[in-house]
Amino acid sequence: MPASSERTAVLPGEVALHARPAGAFVKDAARFQSSIAVAANGKRANAKSILEVLGLGATGGTELTLSASGDDAAEAVDHLATLVTELAE
């Protein structure tokens, strides 16, 4: 039974999850073995797919829910939650 982990992170007020920040997010997500989802605005995206992540349309201040399933699930959500709160334009 793979480990699973979930936590939320809020985008900084001035940073939307648009092209460059989304690229940084997806590149880091891809380093983990776990499958990782990110949800916002009632939508859910594969955190390793730039197009799905962009499709969330998450603007600054949006709360993202990160959930992962796999051996490194806890590290993945912790790492990505930190990344999200530290994103800059």
Partner: protein
Amino acid sequence: MPGVTTEGGENGYVGLILVSHSASIAEGVAELVAQVAGQEVPIVAIGGASDGSLGTDGGKVLEALRSAAAGPGAVVLMDLGSSVLAVRAAQGELSPAELESVVVADAPLVEGALAAGVTASTGASAPEVAAAAEEARVASKL
């Protein structure tokens, strides 16, 4: 030299070859991908006919595919019409070994290149990069 080449090169990352009727489109997409995916992924932008008008320079396309096949490989994305025909013609000139390392993606150019570039920047193989590009056919924007 066939258009824009980002830093990457001999670093082992699968590259992108972007083929458009317009040099501005090809170079603009390359610029966008480099901004989102980072500078590691080699990108060759090929746009316009040999006289600089709108069109496709089949010689440049073949040269780019050959050069990528000699390195870590590449995924090719194109806009439509003669760009597609030029890529297919160039594929026909490659050896079976070269064809294994240069994968053509059936995907929209801008969205496909973005997905491909980010995936390539993670060290993915050419087939994985092409598959990411092809997801652009179904990814919803709204």
